[in-house]
């Protein structure tokens, strides 16, 4: 909790190239407020990184920056080989993000929602069905409109849409929140399998035991800066 200098964290041998995420002194604004105030971070392929830190520290902002949803104001940032300073839009083909909101169409059914996200990214209907199955949505629920679902069922639907996308970099903002015990276990299995298959995963979470057990590495964000490599 002391020392104002941001620390560049690196996963393996510190090779400058090949990292999936590389932020150096990144500054990002919400309005005119520096939600990220010089964040530096490096994440390698196959890692499951836990972002921890107090409320308002900038976790969500960091994820949105990496997803190309928040513009980079200063510093440098590259994600999946795309330079965020110049080609922010291009990065989006590589990432999948799930934020505090679920991004669902409430008048459509579970199957229609997951199917829509799958179709956008060219997933086959078998893949879509498998994603729903993994999230426990293949039974009665698949035909129910999202507006009728409970909070946890909505979260499962959003996660299924993400799973169907099979992104290179998964950005998850409190993915466990609202899931029941079975849902949490299943989610962890899915994430571990994805990472083993070569995806990179960044999870922002306050459930330190649960997410800490899942992660291969942790860093802390405080006041818009990445503070420590806790591996």
């Amino acid at each position: 909790m002391s020392g104002a200098q941001p620390i560049v964290t690196s996963a393996a041998d510190g090779a400058a190239t090949g990292s999936v995420v590389e932020l150096i002194d990144a500054v990002a604004l919400i309005g005119s407020f520096p939600a990220l105030a010089g964040a530096s971070l490096r994440v390698e392929r196959g890692e499951i990184l836990l972002l921890r830190g107090p409320n308002g520290a900038g976790k969500t902002s960091l994820l949105r920056l990496c997803a190309g949803l928040l513009p980079l104001e200063r510093g440098s940032a590259s994600v999946c080989g795309v330079d965020l300073a110049t080609d922010r839009e291009l990065v989006r083909a590589h990432v999948g993000i799930i934020g505090h909101t679920n991004g669902l169409y409430h008048d459509l059914t579970v199957a229609e929602n997951v199917g829509f996200w799958g179709r956008l990214s060219g997933a086959t209907s078998a893949e879509v069905h498998e994603a729903m199955q993994r999230m426990g949505l293949d039974g009665r629920l698949s035909g129910v409109r999202v507006s009728k679902l409970s909070a946890g069922q909505r979260r499962r639907t959003a996660l299924a849409g993400l799973v169907a996308r099979r992104a290179e970099l998964w950005l998850l903002d409190e993915p466990h929140a609202g899931l029941d015990a079975d849902g949490r276990d299943e989610l962890d299995r899915v994430l571990r399998a994805a990472a083993a298959a070569g995806a990179t995963i960044i999870v922002a979470s306050h459930e330190l035991e649960r997410a800490g057990g899942l992660a291969t590495r942790q860093v802390e964000i405080v006041a818009g800066q990445v503070r420590g490599d806790l591996r």
């Binding site: 997803a67 190309g68 949803l69 513009p71 922010r88 839009e89 989006r92 083909a93 590589h94 990432v95 999948g96 993000i97 934020g99 909101t101 679920n102 991004g103 669902l104 169409y105 409430h106 008048d107 459509l108 229609e112 829509f116 996200w117 179709r119 956008l120 990214s121 060219g122 409109r145 849409g161 996308r165």
Partner: protein, 229 residues
Amino acid sequence: MRSGTLAVARAIARRDLLVEWRSRVVTNQVIPFAVLVMVMFAFALDSDAVLERVAPGLVWLATIFSVLFLTARSFAVETADGALDAMRSAGVNPVAIFLGKSVAVAVQLLVLDVALVVAAVVLYRADVSLGGGVLLVTTILVATTGLASVATLYGGLAAGTKGRETLLPLLLLPVVAPVLIGATRATESAFGTNGIAVSEGWPWLGLLAVFAVLFSVVGAVAFGPLVDE
């Protein structure tokens, strides 16, 4: 993006129409609203001679007010639960978003306009000849395309962030003025209002067509940069 732009655009248009089919907001809310607007006009103006004269203008005024509702609704569906963000972050080509959403808006507008024209014919006793009918249908198709494009474009800008939404009518209404004029004049000829011949209506279609083509192309190009903060 792993699917072609057109395929994605089709998926988006289908999804928007499905949402409408499920929620019936246009059928149960916007169309009755627009028809009621026409009835209210009749109330407020309260003179048959004046009414017949202004019926074509009122059809298109009601269309333009309704387009504001329709666009707001089309993007409310996207922003209610952060789906627009999700779509952007899924690497969907903005051109596809623009095309898909404007096709969906155009289809809904088309239905609306048919209802409005029928209402005008019934309420204000407008007459339509065969030639006038052809002109009328063409006018509706072309004007609708133009309106849907420009409304989707500015609707996207307005949906982008909070506060910007205050701009939608301000940005949209001055821009659609040519459609209002062109479509009104063409409809006047189709209805034979004030004894205007049907042939006088066709030149106005030129204006409408230019507008429609222009904003379809411009919209496809400009949507990405405008929507992205």
